[in-house]
């Protein structure tokens, strides 16, 4: 149970034009999974290595439970990292790999053997102890790497793209395993990922990163429904953006005037609504919109529709079981006031 605070971190690589991490501050709560989400080059892995003590910062401070760890070498921080390519030590057996951390902490051999057996059971690979890393599949190696990190009961667990090398069904298994062990051990966990889906499923909190800074730090549902700007909205699947003016009571746009439940100061805004929140409705009580279905696409569990409005268009997803419209139909849309959200233009 360790709270990690990042304070005004800046990291400038010698040859780089822009800093990899730029004046970044973040309070990572204890006992939860926090995802650092962003495209490659957004500085998320750099940040992870800074927390682990593997990279020096140019400026700033890293604190564990309010105490600076900057002067502490990596091996004393208790922040264990699981690398993207799992990095099992090729010259050791699986048992030796998992027990390595305990051996380094001077734990006696008998206890190590017992704890390694427990760990192998936890990752559901009880019989691989005597094997070498290269005799295991990628998914198995990833689980061994996780066990090797967990066995030392780290203050902070750092996972660098833990799911990126796995195929679809192994991904789900690994996700569940990470969630399960995190809940069992209550370890403060920081996951780096470029995959929005992985971050949403795994993490309690997501820090969306861009150019070495945090765009928004919030729970997954807030990032979906209350994005702080257009980039965040687009990253989480937002596709409908309508420029308008908010006068404090009503939202005036090129396609109509809407009631909303938002509370922001009057001014020019960008109105947004998620595609799954727009409803087809013949006689809505408020916020009606008339348009023509321009295009539709079957996605398996749902349909995607493009509805053309007089001055703009809206993208809408409808669950397959309730899909009734066809291309060319004139339809009436209902934009529920509670699902309308505004972002700076």
């Amino acid at each position: 149970m360790t709270q990690v605070s990042l304070s005004q971190i800046r990291k400038q690589y010698p040859a780089a034009l822009h800093p990899a991490v730029n004046q970044l501050s973040l309070e990572i709560p204890s006992g939860k999974i926090t995802a650092l989400l962003g495209a490659s080059g957004s500085g998320k892995t750099t940040l992870l290595k800074i927390i682990a003590g593997l990279l020096p910062v140019t400026e700033g401070d890293v604190l564990f439970d309010g105490q600076s760890v900057m002067s502490m070498p990596t091996e004393q921080r208790g922040a264990v990292m699981v690398f993207q390519n799992h990095l099992l030590f090729p010259h050791m057996t699986i048992e030796q790999n998992i027990g390595f951390g305990l051996k380094m902490h001077g734990i006696n051999t008998g206890i190590i053997r017992q704890r390694v057996a427990d760990m192998l059971a936890l990752i559901q690979l009880p019989d691989v102890g005597k094997r070498r890393p290269h005799q295991l599949s990628g998914g198995q190696q990833q689980r061994v790497a996780l066990a090797r990190a967990l066995i030392v009961e780290p203050r902070v667990l750092l996972l660098d793209e833990p799911l990126s090398n796995l195929d679809a069904h192994l991904r789900d298994e690994m996700r569940d395993l990470i969630r399960q062990v995190q809940q069992t051990f209550q370890i403060t966990t920081i996951v780096v990922t470029h995959d929005q889906q992985d971050a949403v499923v795994l993490a309690d909190l997501i820090a969306l990163m861009r150019d070495g800074q945090v765009e928004q730090f919030a729970t997954p549902d807030v990032l979906f429904t209350r994005p702080s700007n257009e980039r965040v909205a687009r990253f989480f699947g937002g596709v409908n953006f309508i420029p308008g003016y908010w006068d404090g009571y009503l939202m005036q746009t090129e396609v109509g005037t809407f009631q909303t439940s938002i509370q922001v100061p009057p001014g020019q805004v960008l109105l947004t609504i998620r595609p799954e929140h727009v409803k087809f409705c013949d006689s809505p009580s408020s916020n009606p919109l008339h348009g023509i279905v321009e295009m539709q696409q079957f996605m398996g569990t749902h349909w995607r529709c493009l509805v053309c409005l007089p001055a703009n268009s809206l993208k809408i997803t409808v669950h397959a079981t309730t899909m009734q419209v066809r291309v060319g139909d004139a339809v009436t849309l209902y934009l529920p006031p509670e699902h309308l959200w505004t972002i700076p233009p």
């Binding site: 682990a52 003590g53 091996e75 921080r77 990292m81 390519n85 030590f89 380094m104 030392v152």
Partner: protein
């Protein structure tokens, strides 16, 4: 036509073996001559093989306190010390060259190779002049230090080849798991580069083992190693003595080569390819 068709493939299959056999003969013939001579008592011109066999020369050379056992001891001591020190000095250098990119790296690599390219006589004369001033001539320590000059380039090159395919993240992984720097070196770095270290160590040993000119000049004729003894006996001793000494001189090379080809993985030789 049919006959010719039948013959050509046969010739084709035989040729490589014949070539290999010829090369083998050329390479082993001197050794065979040495082997025969080493155990011959009397062996005169028309005879194909010696008439009587003996271990006399072996007993004489290996008798306690003989010139030969001392030379053997000196050679072993110097070559071992040189191998160990060159590994200690070469590892950090090779690590830097293999893992990092920095300004002047190519120049540094070139400078490191220089002693291996410059004629040995020039290197030896220069070293001797300086070693005379520092009192490093005429003793085995000075000779060992001098041997480092031709040895180090090879050690650094072999090891930097090993480091070129080495992933430093393994060390970072070990550190986050709580390993202190010394533990990282002993449990991670060393085991992972071990094949390269063995090859480099063997090279160092053999290069030192076969030094003649440097030992002669820096040792001022007072440090007698096997090559020194061998050169002097080659011009004045009987055939049996020369044969035994030559065999003993060749032995470590052969043993180490057999050992390396058998025990070491092919990837350990990546450094050698760069040579």
């Amino acid at each position: 036509m049919a006959e010719r068709h039948g013959r050509t493939p046969k010739l084709k299959t035989i040729m490589p073996y014949a070539a290999l056999g010829l090369i083998g003969l050329v390479l082993t013939a001197p050794l065979i001559a040495f082997l025969l001579n080493a155990f011959a008592r009397q062996w005169f011109f028309p005879q194909l093989l010696p008439e009587t066999w003996t271990f006399d020369a072996w007993g004489r050379l290996f008798s306690a306190g003989s010139e030969f056992t001392q030379a053997l001891g000196n050679s072993t001591l110097i070559a071992t010390v040189v191998a160990l020190i060159s590994l200690m000095l070469g590892l950090p250098a090779a690590r830097a060259l293999g893992l990092y990119r920095f300004r002047g790296k190519r120049l540094l690599e070139f400078l490191l190779l220089l002693p291996a390219v410059v004629p040995p006589l020039a290197v030896s004369m220069g070293l001797t002049v300086n070693f005379l001033r520092w009192g490093l001539t005429g003793n085995w320590i000075g000779v060992a230090v001098a041997h480092l000059v031709p040895v180090l380039p090879y050690v650094v090159l072999v090891l930097s080849g090993t480091f070129a395919t080495y992933d430093i993240s393994h060390e970072q992984q070990a550190r986050t798991l709580g390993a202190k720097p010394l533990a990282v070196f002993l449990y991670i770095t060393l085991p992972m580069i071990f094949p390269g270290v063995v090859v480099a160590g063997l090279f160092a040993f053999l290069i030192s083992w076969s030094q003649y000119l440097l030992t002669l000049l820096v040792g001022s004729g007072r440090v007698i190693t096997l090559p020194i003894l061998l050169f002097s006996s080659a011009s004045g001793s009987n055939n049996t003595t020369i044969a035994v000494q030559a065999l003993m001189f060749t032995a470590p090379t052969l043993l180490l080569l057999i050992f390396t080809s058998r025990v070491l993985a092919r990837n350990a030789l990546t450094g050698l390819v760069r040579l």
